[in-house]
């Protein structure tokens, strides 16, 4: 139901993102999905990748401010309206989405997100029998 995500603090300055990606490249880590939202001065780069634990250690050893956390990953058919239907289930329960991004994996859409109430989000996923993926599912596609 959850996958591991790297969250990296990045200064809004040219070259800082490259530095992070170079470290992952040299370690042979494959990116599966990533997103950066920007503010005026810094951004948080969020990455789903192969071998997140090793990637985390590599970055940490290089002095990068990084955290490893669990985020929800639900799987949807790649059809119009599927995301709307899924998110509505959470909204109805009064659960806020902190951030969300998506990618395609093996012909299916994957929604990655974090909520303000992980426990209740988990209940919603189970009660509505939403299809989800786990960390091991990611490795199949590498």
């Amino acid at each position: 139901m959850t996958v591991q995500q790297l969250s990296i603090f990045i200064e809004n300055k040219s070259g800082t993102l490259v530095k992070v990606l170079q470290i992952l490249k040299q370690a042979g880590i494959q990116l599966i999905a990533s997103t950066i939202a920007d503010t005026a001065e810094y951004g948080i780069c969020r990455i789903i990748c192969s071998e997140p634990a090793r990637a985390y250690q590599m970055l940490k050893d290089a002095g990068v401010a990084v955290s490893l956390c669990e985020v929800f990953a639900i799987e949807l058919n790649d059809e119009p309206g599927k995301a709307a239907d899924a998110i509505e289930l959470f909204a109805r329960e009064g659960i806020s989405i902190a951030y969300l991004y998506s990618f395609l994996l093996g012909g299916k859409g994957v929604l990655i997100f974090r909520t303000d109430n992980a426990e209740r989000a988990r209940e919603v996923i189970l009660a509505n029998k939403l299809s989800y993926i786990e960390e091991k599912d990611l490795s199949k596609f590498q």
């Binding site: 969250s7 603090f9 200064e11 800082t16 001065e41 810094y42 990068v64 401010a65 955290s67 956390c69």
Partner: protein
């Protein structure tokens, strides 16, 4: 009684020989007073085997050890007083909560003499009893408030203790009260002009402003000229520090070429900050002052940490009290921003209380649109949480705590670990990009 251009003609028109004779007489009295009144100074003088009667010439001053800000901190709060506390009527203390602050005590006579010095300065630049004086300095512990208040009142001006901030109200006072003289820090003078422009106020047409007293913040000759041009005033440089009462220590005359320091109040030495040996006149060094007109808490050979030089030659204004060049910087790491004294250690102490932060930081001082501003960049130790709101809350909390400590609101920026410049050995903590000197 004031006479012509002089508020205290008796003292202001003394020639060098008269000044030095008065200094020696007052120095002898001061050393004797300190020796008998202050345990601190008795120990200090005993430690070098100097008795008050050993002071026979101004040159003998050099036998007395220096007094430092650390001495003031170590003897906090009342350890350096030379009179019983019951004879004191005022206390001023430095800001900040990191370590011991410093305290300066005053007797009633000290306050009268302080007011006299400020009145003398203001008279020198043409202030008269029919002027209206508006003080935009902070009041309370900040000596630029009460210091100018009492001096301007003694001179006889209608004095408006407008205090700091609320620029719209300041402007209303200018126009409603017919303010002619303003005391402001240079960056605030620029700010006043900005707001005037926004509101369509022409200082030449809509106000009676004529004289501006600027000080408490390093500024260049260019800045002064620009402020004069903007506001249509003559701007005079004021120098003071709370250890020496506050404002009124040294002040420019109408020549605007160096600040006369009142030598009937202070004995001036300029020393090499490393060797502590005197430097020749005209050479930049650290200003060392001995108060010779104070009762509650005289200071002998106080190291101000301000760097300046004595301007050679005679001033056309007729006063032979020596002139100091505008301050060239500091021989320690103290920052002067908007008239507030800040030590980097105060900022460091606050930052290090946040477990989310790494130990490297950089303080940048810049002039942004004529306003001096401080940015504090600090490295994030780790991504403790995957959330923008939390980062913003952290920035806000650091800003709030810094403001509580240094009384200035810096811009706080979180930066990734390892992104701040590191120098060999001691890291560079302060970058001063302000337009000055």
């Amino acid at each position: 009684m004031p006479q012509g251009e002089f508020f205290n003609p008796e003292f202001e028109t003394m020639n060098r020989a008269q000044i030095e004779a008065l200094q020696l007489e007052r120095l002898k009295k001061t050393v004797e007073h300190c020796y008998n009144g202050s345990k601190f100074y008795k120990q200090r003088l005993d430690s070098v085997g100097v008795k008050p009667e050993d002071i026979k010439s101004l040159d003998d001053l050099k036998r007395i050890p220096f007094t430092t800000k650390q001495d003031l901190r170590d003897t906090y709060p009342f350890g350096m007083a030379s009179v019983p506390l019951s004879q004191c009527t005022r206390l001023h203390s430095s800001s900040g909560t990191t370590g011991n602050p410093t305290v300066i005590l005053h007797t009633q006579k000290d306050l009268e003499q302080w007011a006299n010095a400020v009145a003398r300065c203001l008279w020198m630049v043409g202030c008269r009893p029919d002027d209206v004086f508006q003080n935009t300095s902070g009041y309370g512990m900040f000596t630029g408030g009460l210091g100018f208040q009492y001096g301007a009142e003694l001179l006889g001006m209608l004095t408006v203790p407008a205090a700091a901030g609320n620029t719209m109200r300041q402007l209303k006072f200018f126009t409603d009260f017919g303010t002619t003289v303003v005391h402001a820090i240079p960056s605030y003078a620029s700010r006043i002009y900005e707001i005037m422009c926004e509101k369509g106020i022409d200082p030449r047409r809509d106000t009676k402003l004529r004289t501006l007293v600027i000080g408490a913040e390093p500024h260049s000759e260019d800045t002064r000229r620009r402020i004069e041009e903007m506001l249509g005033v003559k701007a005079y440089n004021s120098f003071g520090m709370s250890e020496m009462c506050g404002p009124g220590v040294a002040f420019e005359c109408k020549e605007q070429n160096g600040l006369h320091i009142w030598e009937d109040y202070y004995i001036v030495e300029i020393v090499d900050p490393d060797t502590l040996e005197p430097v020749p006149d005209g050479t930049i060094g650290e200003l060392v002052l001995t108060t010779i007109n104070r009762e509650a808490m005289p200071l002998l050979r106080y190291r101000t940490r301000d760097l300046t030089r004595i301007l050679p030659g005679k001033c056309p204004c007729g006063r032979e009290h020596i002139r100091l060049d505008r301050m060239k910087g500091r021989s320690d790491d103290m920052i002067i921003l908007k008239g507030v004294n800040i030590f980097p250690i105060q900022i460091e102490t606050i930052l290090m209380q946040f477990k989310e932060l790494a130990s490297d930081y950089l303080i940048t001082l810049e002039t942004l649109e004529d306003n001096d501003a401080m940015t504090v960049e600090v490295e994030l130790r780790d991504m403790f949480i995957d959330d923008y709101a939390a980062l913003q809350r952290l920035e806000k909390e650091i800003t709030r705590q810094l403001h509580d400590e240094i009384l200035i609101t810096p811009k706080v920026r979180l930066v990734p670990k390892g992104s701040l410049p590191k120098s060999e050995g001691k890291a560079v903590r302060v970058k001063d990009l302000r337009k000055k000197f």
